[in-house]
């Protein structure tokens, strides 16, 4: 039982990365009907931006003699990198997706794929192939909760991601912009005629998604302090699958699917050899899609690719 609960904690942490990344995919997909294949690499870039911001802040503290506690630096890093990465998201939308708004959706997906490759290669070209290690911002302490060991980092990661998801949920359901987004995901042909500008909404969607991805990147850097240019490929594609699995237009679904994927990936190695992890995870996804072809919360809708 303790073993199970211990793994539960790990799965919550691992799932929150997937969930945070999946939210960005899901938002772009719900509102603009694009596969934003660049999102995994935006997550990677967010982690690198977080690394840069954290290093700069640490250097600044060292130079000015200002004694900032690690928590302050961490929260500053998260906020600043989320803002910076949002600009990247807006740029990606402006360059890659806006010219293709009336084009076939598959073409936009290809553009996203190519932007992702450019981000990866650009990173390799600028920083080189060596892996960077994320600075240790907060001291790791372990709490013993009746046989289950929980570090403060794990609590922080799960808490921050849940808080961000809650904030996003409130934004989508309580504000006027959120209402516009929900309307857009309901019908993206009529809603622009009602005075909702897609040219405002689309950058906003990408900015929010990228900000969440950056937060995921920094949290990932806290948990696994090794950054390499291809980490976005690894997590991004799985998060993409989770996002679609959640169902179109459902933030809750994407988050839930992200957590489920995390649970599968943590619990499969408990029973089977760990090399079977991907195989079993994707087989389960295939089974789910066979019985619920529109995801957990998605409604059947015309998903014809506009060729």
């Amino acid at each position: 039982m303790e073993f199970f609960l211990q793994n539960m904690v790990n799965a919550l942490q691992w799932g929150s990365f997937y969930a945070l990344i999946a939210l960005g995919y899901s938002m772009a997909y719900s509102i603009m009907m694009v596969f934003n294949f660049a999102h995994g690499d935006i997550f990677m870039t967010g982690a690198y931006i977080g690394f840069g911001v954290a290093s700069l802040l640490l250097a600044f503290c060292l130079a000015s003699g200002l004694a900032m506690p690690g928590w302050t630096i961490l929260s500053l890093t998260i906020v600043i990198s989320m803002i910076l990465t949002s600009f990247l998201g807006v740029l990606v939308e402006r360059v890659g997706y806006r010219p293709l708004r009336s084009a076939p959706r598959a073409s936009a997906a290809i553009t996203g794929l190519m932007i992702g490759i450019i981000l990866e290669t650009g990173n390799l070209a600028i920083l080189g192939a060596r892996r960077l290690s994320f600075p240790e911002l907060i001291q790791s302490t372990t709490y013993d909760l009746g046989g289950i060991f929980v570090t403060n980092k794990k609590i922080l990661i799960v808490a921050v991601s849940l808080a961000l998801m809650f904030a996003l949920h409130q934004f989508i359901h309580k504000t006027r912009w959120g209402m516009a987004m929900r309307a857009m995901s309901y019908d993206f042909e009529v809603v622009p005629l009602m005075g909702v500008s897609l040219n405002v909404l689309a950058p906003m969607t990408f900015a929010i998604g990228s900000g969440l991805a950056a937060a995921a990147g920094i949290l990932y850097g806290l948990a696994y302090p090794v950054l390499d240019p291809y980490m976005g490929v690894l997590l991004g594609w799985k998060a993409f699958v989770a996002a679609i699995l959640g169902g179109r237009g459902s933030i809750l679904g994407a988050a839930l699917a992200g957590f489920i994927l995390g649970f599968i990936e943590i619990f499969v190695p408990m029973v089977f050899p760990s090399t079977l992890r991907d195989l079993i995870a994707y087989s389960i996804i295939l089974l789910i899609l066979t019985f619920r072809p529109y995801g957990f919360f998605g409604q059947p809708h015309s998903t014809q690719l506009r060729l």
Binding site: E120, T121, A125, L305
Partner: protein, 449 residues
């Protein structure tokens, strides 16, 4: 549905006729185009053959005179990027060996080649195709003979043509966004590798050879076909869910299929697991790959021009309407998926025997991005677009090799530009009519009558 409507070729006055009527003064480019409008495909093939033979016999001498270290392998591009000082020499070499001989011999022989083409045009189309295909093979054979690098690039390009054509069947003609192609390729590659190594190879995993090696090259096509059939059986995993769901969810299913295949192979120790298999016999020679490519083009072109191809297009445009018009949607989807997967499997088998090594890592997301790039660069829903896309992306990526890392910034940028200005690809929605292409060009000066 956008479709590039093209006026029929014979109603459009050619440049030559325009100039003879004196309607408009021709610019330089137009004049060049007018001069070569009368050259049939046969003429160009003859020109290419001439150029190849000139390079074969005088290439060394010319490159020595131009201070080039050796004969430029890929049209001088590699040399140009490595040593910018040699750019003029490389350009001169390309002009002397390729541009001038091809242009001159194509233009000068136009009278004769048009006559021959007219004779061939009256005969059976198969004979005419065979002659053209043979001439092209001769040119490619002697071109690739000069260096092993060229040979490898050529083989990989041909395999890429097969892959792009087969994915075009699913993504272009049927209009699904299938991401499972590297998975089909892996199935074919592994099946045929296991077969050839089990029966003909003294391999550590599969024991000594069971059949004499002399039989090998004759059984190789059989191994490829079995590989293709296994790939098309695997395609059922994607094809059957496609009855119920379309578009985005099918994309996820196909993506999941790709990861499942990759992970499955990684977990099968008896085929080497993540380390892969090596030591394939060297049976994927240039003629073998070439013949398979021609067969693939022939089959797929006939398929998409047949009633099945029309049914596929109908399915893409409106599934319900297609069903109302008596299209058997399930059968059509299944046939398209299985045919596409078959050729992907064959291409995978050839790929394994060209590289003489396969591992599961080869068939990942990277390969998917490459195949999709070739498909969308060339153009959806067109055989000629697939061929163009595969050849040009392959050649571009080989030519930009000296740029090393920056190659993967340049190629995506090119593709993004293509997507922005031609969202369906450069040569999308073209019909590939062999008879029309091989026809003699009876315009102006090239006339042989």
């Amino acid at each position: 549905m956008r479709r590039d409507e093209q006026p029929p070729a014979n109603t459009r006055p050619s440049m030559d006729e325009l100039s003879m009527q004196g309607q408009a003064p021709l610019s330089g480019m137009q004049r060049i185009r007018a001069a070569f409008a009368g050259v049939p495909i046969l003429g160009w093939l003859v020109g290419i053959l001439c150029a190849v033979f000139i390079e074969r016999y005088f290439g060394d001498e010319i490159s020595y005179q131009l201070y080039l270290p050796k004969v430029p392998v890929l049209f001088g591009c590699l040399i140009m990027f490595k040593k910018p000082l040699l750019i003029p020499s490389a350009l001169a070499y390309v002009t002397l060996i390729y541009v001038v001989p091809i242009a001159a011999s194509a233009r000068l022989s136009a009278v004769f080649t048009n006559r021959i083409a007219a004779v061939l045009d009256r005969g059976p189309i198969a004979l005419s195709c065979l002659i053209h295909v043979g001439l092209l093979y001769a040119a490619l054979h002697y071109w690739a003979d000069l260096s092993d690098y060229r040979l490898l690039v050529l083989k990989l390009t041909m395999i890429a043509v097969m892959l792009t054509l087969s994915i075009n069947l699913i993504n272009g003609y049927m209009g699904e966004f299938s991401c499972s192609h590297p998975g089909f390729m892996a199935l074919g590659a592994y099946s045929s590798s296991v077969l050839t190594l089990f029966f003909f190879g003294n391999h550590s995993l599969f024991g000594p050879a069971l059949l004499p090696a002399a039989l090998g090259p004759y059984c190789f096509p059989l191994a490829l076909i079995i590989g293709g059939l296994i790939a098309s059986a695997g395609a059922l995993v994607v094809a059957i869910p496609s009855f119920r769901t379309r578009g985005d969810y099918l994309a996820i299913i196909s993506l999941a299929f790709l990861f499942i295949v990759k992970s499955l192979i990684e977990n099968m120790e008896w085929v080497g697991g993540p380390r892969g298999i090596s030591g394939h016999p060297n049976w994927s020679s240039l003629p073998v790959v070439y013949m398979w490519m021609i067969a693939c083009i022939w089959v797929i072109n006939n398929f998409v021009r047949s009633i099945y191809g029309k049914a596929l297009n109908a399915l893409r445009d409106n599934e319900m309407a297609a069903e109302a018009m008596t299209v058997n949607t399930r059968k059509t989807k299944m046939v398209a998926f299985m045919l596409g997967a078959f050729w992907a499997g064959v291409a995978g088998g050839l790929f394994a025997h060209v590289m003489r090594f396969v591992n599961p890592g080869t068939f990942g997301i990277q390969r998917l991005a490459e195949i999709l790039a070739m498909l969308y660069f060339g153009g959806l829903n067109s055989v000629v677009g697939s061929i163009f896309g595969a050849v040009s992306i392959n050649l571009i990526s080989e030519m930009l090799r000296p740029l090393e890392l920056y190659k993967w910034i340049v190629i995506p940028l090119i593709l993004i530009l293509v997507m922005i200005y031609r969202p369906s690809g450069l040569l999308a929605f073209r019909e590939f009519d062999v008879k029309d292409i091989l026809r003699p060009k009876h315009t102006g000066v090239g006339r042989g009558e």
